[in-house]
Symmetry: C3
Subunit: 385 residues, 3 copies
C-alpha cells in the first residue's frame, strides 16, 4: 500500500505545474504562519521547499552533536569492507533532513507529534546526494478540545535520482486557526502496526559475510540476542541549548519552540523544548554499547515522545529485545527492539517502570522521566561460521 | 574608483617584498597588541595573514549556527538549475571570512565599528576556493574624545586566482595607544552613498529564466514587491554564547570582546558582545520567510549595528522594501531593502519604532531593542511569463 | 625501542584472529563498564574499535571549537606552497582522534591521566584518511590507595595504509573493580625523557625554503627565539559546556565525566570536567600569536594537566622557549617549548608562578590557576637568506 505514495516522474511534473499555478494566486502574500487544522484536506500533496545536499560537514556535526559512533557512517574503509563504495550517512540524519523539509507545510502549528508508523529507511544516502520531500495528507479528526485537531500524513524523501530514501506515516496535533471551526471530520486512516518484514530494504551492495567485529568493538551477533532480554546502555549525555539548536537548525527544521526563548518563556515549561528527533538520535547513540553490530535501521514500527526534554536534562537509554526476525539470509537477520530514553535518572542505578497507573485517571501513563519509547527494527550480522 | 584597490600581480610582488623587509626589522617583537590609532596612515596597505580554504564543513556550520535556508547554498541540484556548476557559498560566509582576515591588522583595538559603504559581492565563492584579504587605509580623524579616533579603510577579498570576491569600505572607532597623542588629522574620505547599479556583479553563469519557486517555497517575485511595503518575518532565534563563539572562531575573527568572559566581566555590559556580523547573518536567515526568492546579495549600501547583543537575546527581523531596480534583464531585477534586526521583542506582536527622539540630547537615536539597520540590495527573479 | 610497537601486517592478522576468538567467549556479555586496574596485564594489546575517516567537517569544527588559525591546516594554497598536495589536518586533531579510539579500552575508569612521554607525530594525516589505533599495556603499579592503581600503555595510531601517524606513552590512574584486590604489581616502565632528535619525523614532501611569512603573519623565525625567552600570548578564550562536549564527542571520546551532568553533580567539582586534550588544543590555538611560524608539532616530551577546567573558565597561555635544536637542514630547525595554560587570570596583567611550595606538604605543587604544563617541540622555518 505505501507504494501508492511513490509518484512517477510524470506525476511529479504534473504536480509541480499545479503547485506553480497555485503560487500564482497567492503571490501577494509574502509570509505565512504555516498551515492550521482548517487548511488540511485528505489527498492534498505538499512538495516541500529547500532541497538539501548532504555533505561531510553535516556528518561531522551529527557526530559532534549526538555522540554517534557507528563505524559504517564514520569510516569509509569499514563501509567498503561491507560492499559500499563509501560511507552512507546515518539513517537518522536522513530522517531529520526529510522531516525538516516537511515542517513548514505540516507542523509549524503543531504543539505535539503524536506518533509514527511504517517508517522505512530505503535507498541509502551518501554525501553529495540532494534530498527533497513531499507529503500527502491522509485525513484529520476533531478532538475533544476546541483549539486542536489531529492530522495524519504520509511523507516521502527522495534523492536527486527520484529514488525514495525514506517514507513514514505520522500524525500530529495541529492548532486550529479559529477555535470556532467545526469540521465534523473524523477520519483516522488505518496504518500498519509494524513495518512488514517483506518491506525491509536491505541495500543491494551490502554484504555482511566478511563483517569485522573488531571495527565495531561489538561482541554480540544476531543469534546472541533473545526476546525478553534487556540491554542497559552505560552512557549518559547532558544536552545544552546550543547543541540542540544547532542540530535542529542543521536540519533546517523551523519549528519555533526549539529556538525562541522570548516566545517560550511564557510557555508551560518556561523554556525551549528539544526537537524530539534529536532525542531519538542521542538515545540511539547512547545505545551503541551493547548493540555495536547493528548495521542499519530498517524501520520504526511505532514511536512516542513520552515527555518533553529541555536543556540541562541528561539522557540515558535501555533497549528491550522484542523479537529476532530471520530474513532468509546467511549473513544477517533483523532484530526488533524497543529503545527507551529516560532523563535525569540512571536506570542501571535506579530501576524505573516505563509506565505507571495514573490513580486519578485510572489509566497507564508514562513515567515522567521517560522521554522516548521507540519500537524499531535493525539489521544485525549473523555470527560468522 | 574602487578598481584602484585591485592590485596587479606585479604590485603584489612588490608589496610582499616591502612587507617582508619590514618584518626583518621587527623580528625581535614576538607578539603585537594590534594597531592603534597612531599606527594608521592613509595609503598604507595591509596584506592580511592566514589564507583560508572554504569547505563543506564551513557551509554546514554556517547553516547550523545561523539557521540559513537559502537553497542556492545548500542544494547543488538547485544551483545547477540556475547555471552554476555547484552551490556557491553564502555571500555572508564570504563576508565573514574576508572580514575576519582583516581584524588583527585593523580592528583589534576597535571598540565599535561605525559603518560600511559600497559593500559589493563580486566573484561567487565555492568550496575549495582559498580566500585572502588586503586593506588600504584611506584616512583618519580625531574625535572629541582623547582616547579614540576614527579610521577609514577599504578591504578587498580575493580568491586563489586573484579575482576579487568582495570589497567594502568601513570606518571604525580605534583606541589610541596614548591619550596624549594629538595628530590633528581630520580626513574623512567621501564614500559612495550606495552601491551604483552599474557596479552590481551578476555572475555570468547565472540564468534565472528557469527558476523553480517550488525549491524556495517562495510565492513572490520581483514584480510583487512595492517600495514602502513591510515584510514581517515570523522567525525568532535565541543566541547562545557557544553558538556565536563558534561562528566567530570559524571565521578566525580574533576580536577579544567576543570570547573572553574574564576580560568582559568588568566591561559595561558585563559579558561577551556578539560579533555584529553574526547578527547580520541571523537576521538575514530570519528574513527568509517572505523573501524566499532573493537569490544573491548584490551589495550593502549602508549598515549600522544599532545596539549590542549578548547571549540569551532573541532576534527578530522585518524588512522594508525601499526600491525596485530594473537591471535591464528579463530574468531578474534588484530590490533595495532595509533589514531591521530587533532583540527581545516580537515586532509582529508589539509595534516598535526604529528610532525615537532622545529628549536629553535633542536628536533621534535607535530604539534600544534595535540591533541592526542594514540597507542592502538583492537580486530577485522576475515572475516567469 | 618504540619501533617495537609498530606491528607488521602479518602480526596484525594474528592479533585480529586472537581477538576474534576472545570475542567468541564473551558473546553473552552485551555491555562493558570498561577495563579496571585488575584487567590490565603487561604485553596485552588492544585493537581499538571504530575506525574514523577524517573529513572537512572535522577540520571546520576543530577551527570553530578551538580558534585555531595555523594556515597549514586551513589553506590548501599555503600547504601546496610548502610541498604538500593539500592541507594536512592539525596534529592535535590527529592526537584527539587516536586518543579517542583508546578511551573505551584504556581509560573509561580512569579518574586522572598522569602523564605523556615520547609523543611523536609521524605520517601527516589528510582528509579522507581513515585512522585506527591500538594500545599495548606496558605495566602497572599499586599505589598507596586501595581503590586505584597506575597503568602504563603505549598507543599507536595508523592510517588506512598501516602507516603510523602518531605514537605515545601514557600513564593513568585507573580504578580497581574491587578495593580488596592486591596485585603486588610494581612495574613502572622506563620511558624516554624526551623525544630523541633523531626520531622527529619531518614529512618528506615538506620544503620550507620558500616559506611565505605573509601567510602566517609571523615576524619571527627559528633564529629569533632564544632559550629562556618568554612569549606571552594575548588571546583569552572562555569555554562553554556545549563547546567542549561537541569537541570531545567529535573525537568519539566516551569518558563519562565530560558529558554527564547527572553523574557529575555529585562529584567534587559538581560539574563536567573538560577533556584535557581540548585544553591542549585551546592553549595551542591561543599560542598562535608570537609563534605564527611554527609549522608542525614534532612531539611532546612531557605533559601534565595541572588542574581541571570547567565550563565558564577563561584560558590564557604563555610559552617559554627551552631550547633551539638544529636539525642539520637549511630550511628549518626545531624549538623545544614549554606551553603553560592558565585559567581565569591574564598572566600579562598579573604575574603568576607556575608552582609554589605547599607549606603543609613541604613540596612544590602547581598554582591552582595553572591547567596545562606541556613540554613540546615544534618545527620552525629558518630565516630566509
Amino acid at each position: 500500500m505505501p507504494g501508492a505514495y511513490l509518484p512517477t516522474p510524470a506525476d511529479l511534473r504534473v504536480q509541480f505545474a499545479l503547485r506553480f499555478a497555485a503560487l500564482d494566486l497567492m503571490a501577494t502574500k509574502k509570509t505565512t504562519e504555516g498551515n492550521f487544522f482548517e487548511d488540511f484536506a485528505a489527498g492534498q500533496v505538499f512538495h516541500h521547499a529547500i532541497p538539501r545536499t548532504v555533505t561531510d560537514g553535516d556528518v561531522a556535526l551529527y557526530i559532534a552533536l549526538t555522540g554517534d559512533r557507528r563505524p559504517l557512517h564514520c569510516s569509509s574503509e569499514f563501509a567498503r569492507s561491507l560492499g559500499f563504495e563509501r560511507a552512507p550517512i546515518h539513517d537518522m540524519l536522513t530522517f531529520h533532513i526529510v522531516f525538516g523539509r516537511a515542517v513548514p507545510d505540516v507542523s509549524l502549528n503543531s504543539p505535539a507529534n503524536l506518533g509514527y508508523a511504517d517508517v522505512r529507511f530505503l535507498t541509502p544516502v551518501f554525501t553529495g546526494d540532494t534530498l527533497r520531500a513531499q507529503t500527502k495528507v491522509l485525513g484529520r479528526r476533531e478532538t475533544s478540545r476546541d483549539d486542536v485537531g489531529i492530522v495524519w500524513v504520509h511523507t516521502t524523501g527522495y534523492n536527486q535520482r527520484e529514488e525514495p530514501v525514506l517514507q513514514f506515516y505520522r500524525w500530529a496535533m495541529v492548532n486550529k486557526r479559529d477555535t470556532n471551526t467545526k469540521t465534523d471530520e473524523d477520519f483516522a486512516p488505518e496504518l500498519p502496526a509494524e513495518v512488514a518484514t517483506g518491506d525491509f530494504l536491505i541495500p543491494e551492495q551490502l554484504d555482511l559475510s566478511s563483517f569485522d567485529p573488531v571495527a565495531t568493538g561489538g561482541d554480540a551477533f544476531w543469534e546472541d540476542y533473545e526476546a525478553g532480554e534487556r540491554v542497559e546502555h552505560p552512557q549518559g549525555i547532558t544536552i545544552e541549548d546550543a547543541e540542540h539548536q544547532m542540530a535542529t537548525r542543521l536540519y533546517q527544521n523551523t519549528a519555533r519552540v526549539h529556538f525562541n526563548q522570548h516566545l517560550q518563556k511564557s510557555s508551560r515549561l518556561g523554556t525551549r523544548i528539544i526537537y524530539g528527533g534529536h532525542i531519538i538520535s542521542v538515545s540511539h547513540a547512547n545505545s551503541y554499547d551493547g548493540l555495536e553490530n547493528a548495521i542499519r535501521i530498517l524501520g520504526f514500527n511505532a514511536g512516542a515522545h513520552a515527555n518533553p526534554t529541555i536543556a540541562g536534562d541528561t539522557l540515558y537509554a535501555w533497549t528491550d529485545v522484542l523479537k529476532r526476525i530471520d530474513l532468509g539470509r546467511d549473513d544477517a537477520g533483523a532484530l526488533r527492539l524497543r529503545l527507551v530514553g529516560v532523563k535525569n535518572i540512571d536506570p542501571r542505578e535506579e530501576p524505573i517502570e516505563l509506565k505507571s497507573k495514573d490513580p486519578e485517571r485510572d489509566r497507564e501513563s508514562y513515567n515522567p522521566n521517560v522521554v522516548l519509547d521507540l519500537d524499531y527494527t535493525v539489521l544485525m550480522p549473523k555470527r560468522p561460521a
